[in-house]
């Protein structure tokens, strides 16, 4: 997916694809297209000498770089909170967002028969409580998950919650969306996004090493870091 890396490392056989990061086989639910990518890749096994680097230049049937003009989150939220100084109010706001999203999250699970939520082992209520408390009183928080440090525990819980929001947002297969559409909604129009940005701002300057090490690249995606203090 990063052709120049393959050129430098020279694996035995490689197929260079033009797809965005996160989609090595092109697009979801495009069976024939995925088969074509896979078959083209496996055919390289029959080459008689190498290293082999060939290009797959087709694009998936759906233009994955353009969101649908019709996409919108299936739920209308109140605008994100302005005041992030009261943990209980933040908790209530996040709880309301997750409660409003839950029917759509469950719809997504029915439609796609799977979910990425659950890595942290916590419920959404437990996660929003912890995140609210971490934002307002970070120095007095204990690691939320047994056996892992504060930063790793926060990361797993935050990722779970982002997956919950995202899966709910894309619950309707008939409403096409791009990942950027959904990301802009999550990070720009929800209290969750605002809270996670604020936590990243704090973590970049804090003394807690397990938070700080994750803050640089693993808390906020690069295309949303313009919302943060440090970019």
């Amino acid at each position: 997916m990063v052709r120049i890396h393959t050129e430098k490392m020279k694996p035995p056989r490689a197929l260079a694809v033009p797809f965005e990061l996160g989609r090595p086989f092109g697009a979801p639910n495009e069976v024939e297209f995925q088969r074509k990518v896979l078959h083209n890749c496996l055919e390289l096994l029959e080459r008689e000498s190498g290293p082999v680097l060939e290009d797959f230049s087709d694009l998936p049937p759906v233009d994955e770089n353009q969101g649908s003009e019709n996409w919108a989150c299936p739920v209308n939220f109140a605008p994100p909170m302005d005041d992030l100084n009261d943990a209980d109010l933040i908790y209530q706001s996040l709880l309301q967002e997750t409660n409003l999203l839950r029917p759509w999250y469950e719809e997504a699970v029915r439609n796609y028969k799977r979910s990425a939520f659950g890595v942290s082992g916590k419920t959404t209520a437990e996660i929003v409580r912890f995140i609210a408390d971490l934002l307002v009183d970070p120095q007095n928080q204990q690691p939320p998950i047994d056996g892992v440090n504060l930063g790793t525990g926060f990361k797993r819980m935050a990722d779970d919650l982002r997956y919950f929001y995202t899966e709910a947002a894309i619950a309707r297969p008939d409403k096409k969306s791009s990942d950027i559409d959904v990301a802009n909604w999550l990070w720009g129009e929800t209290t969750l996004g605002k809270v996670l940005v604020a936590i990243r701002d704090y973590a970049m300057e804090c003394d807690e090493p397990s938070l700080k090490v994750l803050s640089v690249t693993a808390m906020v995606p690069s295309h949303q870091r313009h919302r943060t203090k440090h970019g």
Partner: protein
């Protein structure tokens, strides 16, 4: 995340200019025909069964994905926030083409599918994965795998 060409310039440069391992040579094994292949998938997407421990940055380990497992159970605990996951949420085959592989097996395009597949988490320095990768090669041989599809994310 869109294509590298649409990343902020400093991030695209950092990705393109990332320090890479240098190999003296490229190993090569002949496989005359796909019909002779027994194929395992190895992903770097940080995939694992819901019952498995999540990946931890820098550990360099892998998770086992038995071929007979209910693949709808797989989750992703990759630490990076910089690649799209909506494709994975909707269809596992976007990152781990296990159904497509089974179809090719049923159609006798390939010889067979391995008993076990594996996932590492990328964003790990390669030298941290070398020891376990060598161990994994032994497991693949035990399973009579003669071809591996390494799938990035």
């Amino acid at each position: 995340m869109v294509h590298i060409s649409e990343m902020p310039e400093h991030l695209a440069k950092a990705l393109i200019n990332q320090e890479l391992p240098v190999y003296e040579s490229t190993p090569w094994t002949d496989l005359k025909s796909l019909k002779e292949s027994r194929i395992a998938l190895i992903s770097t997407a940080g995939l694992h069964r819901s019952v498995d421990s999540p990946f931890v940055a820098g550990a360099g380990d892998y998770r086992i994905i038995p071929d007979e497992w209910d693949m709808d159970d797989l989750v992703m605990s990759h630490v990076s926030t910089n690649f799209d996951r909506t494709g994975f949420f909707q269809d596992l085959n976007t990152v781990f083409p296990i159904d497509r592989l089974h179809e090719l097996d049923e159609e006798e395009v390939i010889g067979s599918v391995a008993s076990r597949h594996y996932s590492f988490m990328g964003a790990t320095p390669p030298h941290l994965m070398e020891t376990v990768a060598r161990d994994l090669a032994g497991l693949l041989k035990e399973d009579e795998v003669n071809a591996v599809l390494l799938v990035p994310v």
